[in-house]
Structures are given as structure tokens and as C-alpha cells.
């Protein structure tokens, strides 16, 4: 029986076709990774593993970077046909970002899909943990980082808790039923709940 995925060197390999959504995310990451580390979270995680729904945005978290680096990133995104919802001016956009407010990028002339670029607050234990313990997913030649699968499941079930999130978590639980480990759920739960305090 096909499991829908395979594991090689701790990388989850999903044997499927790349979608237009994947190509959009890949284009953004090819630029972002020149300047910053990142983690893709939320809806795209389950969609990339075959979940039968689409999304209008892809959440990508990144550490707060200095203004000079942000200027280069912003300039490169604009040069490569992205625009920023929040401002055309990198300095204005940086004001949002450095104050831990997310900013959005889409391709010029489009609103959807868009990247919600989320600076992460290093004081948040859960965010720190998932960022420093990524799981790599590979689809054809597209590799990207997500939180550990068990972490993503618990975050959706315990923190986000919308019907859509519970459904996403269910998909991940069933799709990765042979991969997920009970001891990781036990380990991650207090880390995730610590951010509620």
C-alpha cells in the first residue's frame, strides 16, 4: 500500500505534482533564503501534504532582521515582481516588521495568493522551539521547512482550534499515521501550552 510519502535522511518526500501554489511559495523562498532563515506554518503545511483545500495565504515566520538586510530583501522581492500590501516603501514596511507585525507580499497585479510574512517573537517558547527544530519536506525539487508534524498537529488542536484547523490536524494525523510518534506529542504539548500563559 502506498503511504503517499517516503522518508530519506529525515526528509519527508511527497511524491506529487507541484501546484501553482507551490511554485509561488518556492519563488518567494528562493529570494528570502538569501537573507533569512524561515519556517512555513499553518494551512500550507497540510495542503502541501495533500489536504483537499486551497488557501489564500501562506504563513511564513522569520526572525526579525536588521533594517539593512530587510532593505535588500524588500528590494529583491520588488525586482522579482512581488509587491507589499503594507507599503511600497521598505522603511514603512520595516516599521511593521520590526514591531512584530506581519506584512504581506503578493505577485504584482494580484492579491491572492499572498505570503503573510510574520516576524517571530523570540520570547515565545513555542515559536522558538518550532523554528529551531524544523522538519524538511521535499516535493520534486522543492524543499522547504515546516514545524515537526506532531507540533503542527498540536498547535492546530490546542491553540488555533478553528474547525478548519481541526480538519487540517486530522488530515496530518491520518496521512502521517505511520510517522508520528506518541512521545513527541507528550514532549511538545507543554511547550505549546507555555505560550498561552
Amino acid at each position: 500500500m502506498n503511504s503517499g510519502y517516503s522518508i530519506k535522511d529525515n526528509v519527508i518526500i511527497i511524491d506529487r505534482e507541484l501546484t501553482e501554489l507551490d511554485l509561488f511559495v518556492r519563488k518567494f523562498l528562493n529570494i528570502l533564503t538569501r537573507y533569512s532563515d524561515y519556517l512555513i506554518v499553518s494551512g500550507f503545511v497540510s495542503i502541501s501534504t495533500g489536504r483537499s483545500r486551497s488557501t489564500e495565504d501562506i504563513d511564513i515566520i522569520a526572525p526579525i532582521m536588521n533594517k539593512e538586510k530587510f532593505k535588500k530583501l524588500f528590494g529583491n522581492l520588488v525586482k522579482n515582481n512581488f509587491w507589499c500590501y503594507n507599503s511600497d516603501d521598505y522603511e514603512e514596511a520595516y516599521e511593521y516588521f520590526k514591531n512584530v507585525n506581519s506584512i504581506r507580499f503578493a505577485e504584482k497585479g494580484e492579491l491572492f495568493p499572498n505570503i503573510e510574512f510574520v516576524p517571530f517573537d523570540s520570547k515565545k517558547r513555542a515559536k522558538n522551539f518550532e523554528f529551531n527544530n524544523p522538519q524538511i519536506i521535499k516535493i520534486k525539487d522543492f524543499e522547504f521547512k515546516i514545524p515537526p508534524i506532531e507540533f503542527e498537529i498540536l498547535y492546530k488542536e490546542l491553540i488555533l482550534k478553528s474547525k478548519k484547523d481541526i480538519e487540517d490536524a486530522r488530515h496530518l494525523r491520518v496521512f502521517f499515521s505511520d510517522f508520528i510518534k506518541k512521545e513527541k506529542f507528550i514532549k511538545y504539548k507543554p511547550i505549546i501550552l507555555s505560550d498561552l500563559k
Binding site: 500500500m1 502506498n2 503517499g4 505534482e17 501546484t19 474547525k163 480538519e167 486530522r170 491520518v174
Partner: protein, 51 residues
Amino acid sequence: MKLPKINLKELEKFKEKNFRERLEFIDKYVEWIKKQPNKKWSSQHKDLIDN
């Protein structure tokens, strides 16, 4: 205009049943994925996501 009478308890039960069915569908969908060649399920997934 006369408004229809809505039984909120029944509506709540209906919503819960609907949500359970949606979760059961996810189970069946993943079971289906695992029985198909990757090319087949992934091309249908791509059609859904790209449209």
C-alpha cells in the same frame, strides 16, 4: 414579515453532525490517497489547488 422558527438546539446538533462527517470524509480521503498511485491522487490534488 414572519420569521421562521429556528430550533437552536437542533441547529447545534446539525452542525456537530456535519463537522463529524467532515472529519470522517478526511479519513476516507486519506485512505483513498494511500490506495492510489501517487500520480493519480496528486493530479487531482493539483487540479483542485490550481483552480
